[in-house]
Symmetry: C2
Subunit: 366 residues, 2 copies
């Protein structure tokens, strides 16, 4: 059976693939309009170097192979953002900051997760390097929302989180024993009120401070009696103000899964027909050669989730009957039509999924 594909890998067929390409082009156009310039790293890199920029364990899920040229192990990228960070830190390390970069490409995983069974993922994203400010985070969140709009996502929403919230509270007004920190974070992420009550009851109000943005933020402000979180909450409020009215906003301050490497801000993007998140983003640190760190903010959209399973879109195809002069076809194409030329007597517009036929110089709808 040469038709069979490995689990988690698939063909994108007509009309899906064209719809996906059109959506990707619109998303990249929206990102580009904000000054983000495209970079395109290779499919494979030295595994060890790539691993230093991936989340812990991610290299384990990458396809690796021995390079006959260098005799070293290479890895197919399981994620593109690590490569963009490498480019910003190395080849574009001396460019004036901030550096704004965009990308679109495929990443491949050796193993899929239960939640996302696809092993090949098409990622589209934007990253801003060299600024750790509310203005930078607000710009990235704005570009993410505009990218969703460009993709035609219905009912877009953004769910904010504060990835280092528990660390900040534990280092300040609500100390916990070091060995409790990890389970506390994990149980808060799971919204397990019973366990949190046992581990560190002071943290219980955080679970209630999740939901629509404004009331959740107000609950967090009330909870933050000594002002430990003030700068974070002011930043969130400022970012939300720039997005106000353009997207539904929620706040889930203890959401942590997948945000382990984010610094003070994380967000998930939702909308359209997909129950799964359409993308995610936040603030993080990039390591330069020599060890210096640089702040960055960015987001990634998962292209296939933007398209959905049944892309709608106009498929306007004009059938050119046998013997149509070449210049006639060129004129219709010049006017934006897709033409399908009959190449033998038996060709029919129906078999070629045409919507129109050229007849007496006009496009007649079928």
């Amino acid at each position: 059976m040469t038709a069979l594909l490995p689990e988690g890998l698939r063909d994108r067929l007509p009309p899906y693939a064209d719809a996906a390409a059109a959506i990707e082009a619109r998303v990249l156009g929206a990102i580009r309009a904000h000054g983000y310039e495209r970079v395109d790293p290779p499919l494979a890199e030295f595994a060890e170097a790539l691993g230093t920029r991936l989340k812990a364990g991610a290299l384990h899920d990458a396809v690796r192979f021995v390079d006959p040229v260098s005799q070293r192990t290479l890895a197919i990228r399981p994620d593109i953002t690590a490569q963009i960070a490498r480019i910003a830190a190395t080849r574009m390390g001396h460019h004036p900051r901030p550096v704004r970069l965009s990308y679109a490409g495929s990443a491949l995983k050796l193993r899929a997760s239960q939640l996302s069974p696809a092993r090949e993922t098409r990622q589209i994203g934007a990253e801003l390097f060299g600024l750790d400010s509310v203005a930078a985070a607000a710009e990235i969140a704005t570009v993410a929302v505009e990218a969703m709009a460009a993709a035609g996502v219905a009912q877009p929403s953004i769910d904010f989180t504060l990835p280092d919230l528990v660390d900040a509270l534990a280092a300040g007004p609500l100390p916990v024993a070091p060995e409790v920190l990890a389970p506390l974070r994990e149980r808060l992420d799971a919204k397990d009120a019973g366990a949190v009550a046992q581990i560190a009851p002071d943290y219980l109000p955080l679970i209630a401070a999740a939901g629509p943005f404004a009331p959740a933020l107000a609950r967090l402000r009330a909870f933050d009696r000594d002002g430990t979180l003030t700068s974070r909450l002011d930043a969130l409020a400022a970012i939300a103000a720039t997005l106000d009215g353009r997207v539904a906003m929620t706040l889930d301050p203890t959401e942590r899964h997948g945000f382990e490497y984010q610094t003070w801000l994380g967000f998930s993007l939702f909308g359209g027909a997909s129950a799964a998140e359409l993308g995610r983003g936040g603030t993080y640190m990039v390591v330069h050669e020599g060890g210096a760190e640089e702040a960055a903010t960015g987001f990634t959209l998962y292209a296939d989730r933007l398209v959905g399973d049944s892309p709608t879109g106009e498929r306007r195809r004009l059938f050119l009957p046998l013997g149509t002069p070449a210049e006639d076809g060129a004129r219709w194409r010049g006017d934006g039509w897709v033409t399908v030329a009959a190449l033998e007597a038996g060709d029919t517009p129906e078999a070629q999924l045409c919507t129109h036929v050229l007849a007496e110089g006009a496009a007649r709808a079928l």
Copy 2:
């Protein structure tokens, strides 16, 4: 050194990557306008199945790995056309013919060749399945020429070859011993008149029948005294007639390298700054499950060669000074501008490679 990349793999940086993406979009648009719908096969497939559709030995140069899910060997595609043929023969096997498909994507090789040191190649192409006619070949050649025009290729040219020419002559008027066939083909391909004179002197005139299309075709017609080649030469003449005036044309009837799997027609595409071919195409056979064969015609362009080393292109960036209202930026983006917002007091239009600054409601050139 985390900045170092393996030999034959590279980052595409600004402004190259944006220029490459723009050219690719224009090329795909030209292909799409002729009714070719996009398919997008996965990066990896079962190695054995992919191997049956690749040229002999090509699987040897593919990155292969054991799939932990199926425990079978998978291969990263070293070439995309084999996957398009699979889709046409299997998942789209029951669609009415002809089926017109297009694609764009990256292919990865474990080893590069001396001639093309890149191990990752971006391919863009179009394939037409189910017709073995002059009309089909002429359409594909036309689309290839229009794709080069869409890419802005200067001085485009197309070099035709007749891959099964020697086989046809050897089976007809100019028999040679079976063991001589392969060396004869190979020496003709190398234009080694001395060796051809020794092996099979009757074939010598073929070497002279290479060059600008019209005189080369005339020499071939004169050589073809018994009419063995008439249908091929008439077909070539008809294809050339449809392209007349749009592209320089040459004929190299014994060129064979890389066309081993082509049937009666092959062509190479040249132009622009690249000395290497920009792409190639021709007629070939696709095997359906069960063993039935189907004729196909297609071409592939190598995207990086279309771009060249120093892409030119307008980089019009409008700097928005600190405090510019968000709606002002949106208005300029709506008018087609790329805007770059100042995010802190120290930002300058020069550092952000801007060409214009927004001043008193107008875009002032820098």
